[in-house]
Amino acid sequence: MYRYDEFDSRFVRERVREFRAQVERRLDGSLTEDEFKPLRLQNGLYLQLHAYMLRIAIPYGTLSSRQLRQLALIADRYDRGYGHFTTRQNLQFNWPKLKDVPDILDLLADVEMHAIQTSGNCIRNVTADHFAGVAADEVEDPRPTAELIRQWSSLHPEFSFLPRKFKIAVTGAEHDRAAIKAHDIGLRILRRPGTGEIGYEVIVGGGLGRTPMIGKVVREFLPRADLLSFLEAIMRVYNLEGRRDNKFKARVKILVHEIGAEEFRRRVEQEFAALDGPSVNADPEEVKRIAAYFAPPPYEELPERSVKLSIAKAAHRDFARFVETNVFAHRVPGYAAVTISLKPIGGVPGDATSEQMRIIAELAERYSFGEIRVTYMQNLVLPHVRNDELFALWEALDAAELATANASLVTDIISCPGLDYCSLATARSIPIAQSLSRRFADGARQREIGPLGIKISGCINACGHHHIGNIGILGLEKNGAEYYQLTLGGDATENAALGERLGPGLAAEEVPDAVEKIVNVYLQERSVGEEFIATYRRLGIAPFRQAFEKGVEGDQHAAH
């Protein structure tokens, strides 16, 4: 894991001191609310429906046990004993008081954390593949790149008052677990064919929100050394040319769309050529310095197969099922990555209590070199667990009610906070997730259905990624009541696709039945081993729409 050097530490403390002064100046009237708002947002502080909300960055989703314990402490001392892990590898506290926030930030700085640029019209918390350093399909660990970008983007003097927010994601793997095509900039680390040189594919102009778009490639291969100057070129073109007349058209995706990917690319290349690259880029030594922190932990040499694991699986069916769904292959023989689902049946997706945080911190120390990952699925991962110890870990998780065996299944639902917390919401989203989770609670049925991503947003801003959910649910309002619109066929992976609208909106109570009908069509129509999304691609939306509209057919299928 990255560790702060003296500069990083001082930098974060300076930012805390600055924010402390900004709060004081807000209270004494030196800053108006209009002036203070962008400043507090740039430090992750929102005003929500019931209270302030503080969003803490978990850069590229990597946490240590010590950090997680500190988050638990903050939850107890300054919040209501819980936190919400988001799709953007952040943690949100829903009840902090403005006057306490500087103290919270100091507690974060104690463990090398901060809330810098987790909101506001600036470059946001950089996200990365949560299986970084673990996945076998990885060209290179994306975290050193993400850390370099985190540093470069922090309090950037030029790019702190952009037209709109700006999100960057990095992956180093073939299989895209970071949704890079749904970000303002997506970076994919790759090897140049022929030479084997490492560099980046640069994708710009993805995003969700009210005009969802899939990013376009603006550079097929960017040499590693040019990363920061190329990013500056993109940011400068966007800062100067991005629309500022309409906040809903201000994202870079709209600029790319309006002038065309070709023209955008031309302007970026022109700016890049004019930039004095060497004066902006990081030294190769600096890149190496950062990368050294992400060296693999001291793995033991272990056999590929674990007898202990096989015996435990044979003896405990629930454990065997957990292994089937929540354990991910590790590239090092004898190890595995374990998903700790924050989606218990009927629970609030992504919420963890301080007690759970402490337990997970403890288990990470015991079983995973003290390391935890936060996934965009709003779950946690212990990335390096010995196969031999999986059973012991599972028993401990089970005792703490943290062993829900549903990773990637139909109850592993992504949901934004919706109208239960969010001031922009048009409808609630968490209760929908809860009712669907209860409807599909049966484990055997979930496994029979297989991987199926349901994603729910409480308004058009799409924080719950509904556009890229296999089944997407969007909460809206009509005539003073909440209603929900379903989309099908969205996909967050390297085959990124936006869902298609199924039909007219539904009342909250009707959503579980409708989802069940869709699932039943799939079960009826799928070929052997075919996942939901593949069946959908093969058949198109028509049969699903038919079942949705008639309802009758779906019910018949449900009967057998």
Partner: protein, 182 residues
């Protein structure tokens, strides 16, 4: 409007030529569209010429006009509109060595952004200074003393400092070797 630089208030040596008014005496900041009309006259008086740019100006288009221009003032219609920051950096990158002034309702907290992008000074409305006295501008600069970005503003960035530390380390290492050999 008050003029502030990294050290505090500053005397404003330039007068602005405003819409519908005649050319003021002394050093003058001309609106971009008046630059070609009046620049020779100002030069011929022996006064300095400045130009005020909207934040939509393009570096490529204005660059050829900046010969002998002593000051460029860049418009900030609101403090949240950051285009002027990029424009300033673009001009500095091209090699503009004159004075760069940010003009508009910037707040004390943005002094570091302005300096980091190559501005020398900020001209902000009196109303801002009433709420945010000069002590707050100075305090803001003293609070954030570090930055990561290379090639932005004066002084060494964190990345440059790390490089310097590395080079020191090398030198110490090598001189250590030399000592050991002796």
């Amino acid at each position: 409007m008050p003029l502030i630089d990294a050290t505090g208030f500053k005397q404003n040596g330039f007068a602005r030529m405003t819409e519908g008014c005649s050319l003021p005496a002394g050093d003058v900041i001309l609106p971009l569209e008046k630059l070609s009309t009046w620049r020779e006259e100002v030069f011929s008086r022996g006064d300095r010429v400045g130009v005020h740019l909207p934040n939509t100006a393009r570096v490529d288009e204005v660059w050829p006009l900046l010969d002998d221009v002593a000051l460029v003032s860049i418009d900030f219609p609101s403090f949240a509109d950051g285009r002027g920051f990029s424009l300033a950096r673009g001009l500095r990158q091209r090699g503009f060595f004159g004075v760069l002034r940010a003009f508009g309702p910037l707040i004390a907290d943005q002094m570091r952004h302005a300096l980091g992008c190559g501005f020398d000074e900020v001209e902000t409305p009196e109303a801002v200074i009433v709420r945010q006295p000069i002590s707050q501008w100075r305090a803001a600069l003293e609070t954030i003393t570090l930055r990561y970005q290379r090639g932005a503003g004066n002084g060494l960035s964190i990345l440059d400092r790390r490089r310097a530390a590395r080079e020191m380390g090398h030198r110490r290492f090598h001189s250590g070797l030399a000592l050991a050999r002796e």
